[in-house]
Subunit: 163 residues, 3 copies
């Protein structure tokens, strides 16, 4: 086989491997969100977002990683954590586009209540990410309660996956 | 190192990489199901199935991708979506066998109810897939409510993973 | 391109590919737990653990794969399975360190109850794994109910991911 053929196949493999690594890195980032907020770790929560990233959950939008990290100090959040809670994000649908990506997933907030746990919130999520010097970070996360509103369904739309 | 050694290592890598890509592609397909049905997108739902694929959820079996897509128009489904619902599929156990694969997972249907969400359905799923010209598609999906019946447990059996 | 360059690139790819395979293998192991216990398959449950692995869920610690497998015969477990239940583990946060790994995830035990399913248990999990001759196995799994206790939050800590 010609050396150039080997080189081309190697380059193709490297490129496809980066895509796999990117997808798993984004899954890992999404799997980190729950542990970060359920331990009220503001720094770890902020570190999931780009410096100028935002989190729009339906209330006043949180602008900047630091503001997002500060959500662990909200009264509602403190109360949930004190009772016992789990922020569980589902397996995301990740769509890569070079150094950008979109992830669509569900999130549940399960809170201890009596002799069980209740789903206090179930939401749709659309997360845009970018790869920076420190790896993948969230640029925007939009979250809406799945309460029958069109706004939540719009986030789940498969028509506009491309970032 | 001899050129033939490099070629053999490269071929081994390519084959292993395809397996990783297949597994992630199947995960993506499974992560798409909820967004497709929760937005009542018949076309996107149908596109997850092979043309002649089927979905057996315990009621009358849906035969063909078009029939599966039409489930988004069922009265129960419309009602769930209007109230607010999430069809959440869990991280699947994927077993590849060349151009065939099996995925075992749980599915939950969470529906808005009062000041929270309730799990209206929790089911076992066994999904057989095949790789066609357009990528991985569902050939058969069997789903049964985890209501204590043997039928549901049979779908979760780890004894017969091979497709 | 020099042959040595190709060889080095190939070796780098092989090493990165092994990391991807390891992460997916660990995900598969975690996705197997629910199906193993919800079908009361003691052998499949035990096979997820190393021979001398342990499972510490807050009660008396189960030492050894065989003892872990025997949990499917506990009265509470038999009762849950008879009613209909799903042990759903969330997408894990996997951190690899050579032949060792840590996975952090949530687990839910959903049990049929009236006309729906209730989350009878929602827990934090920290799982240490090792790669042996037969692949990845659990060395220790620690699980604590998310009932507001510090013990559960400690398992979710992102400060000490390294195995």
């Amino acid at each position: 086989m010609a050396d150039t053929d080997l080189t081309a196949r190697l380059a193709a493999l490297e490129s496809r491997q980066r895509a796999l690594e990117d997808e798993l890195a984004i899954m890992r980032l999404i799997a980190s969100y729950g542990p970060a907020v359920d331990t009220r770790n503001a720094q770890a929560t902020a570190a999931l977002w780009a410096e100028d990233g935002s989190y729009d959950f339906g209330g006043p939008r949180l602008d900047g990683a630091k503001a997002v990290g500060a959500l662990v100090d909200l009264d509602t959040h403190r109360d949930f954590v004190a009772r016992g809670c789990a922020h569980v994000l589902s397996l995301p649908l990740v769509t890569l586009d070079g150094d950008r990506a979109t992830a669509i997933c569900y999130s549940q907030v399960l809170v201890a209540d009596g002799d069980g746990w209740r789903a206090a919130r179930v939401s749709a999520n659309r997360i845009h990410l970018a790869r920076g010097a420190g790896g993948w970070r969230i640029i925007t996360r939009e979250t809406r309660l799945l309460d029958g509103s069109e706004a939540a369904r719009a986030l789940l739309s498969l028509e506009k996956e491309a970032p």
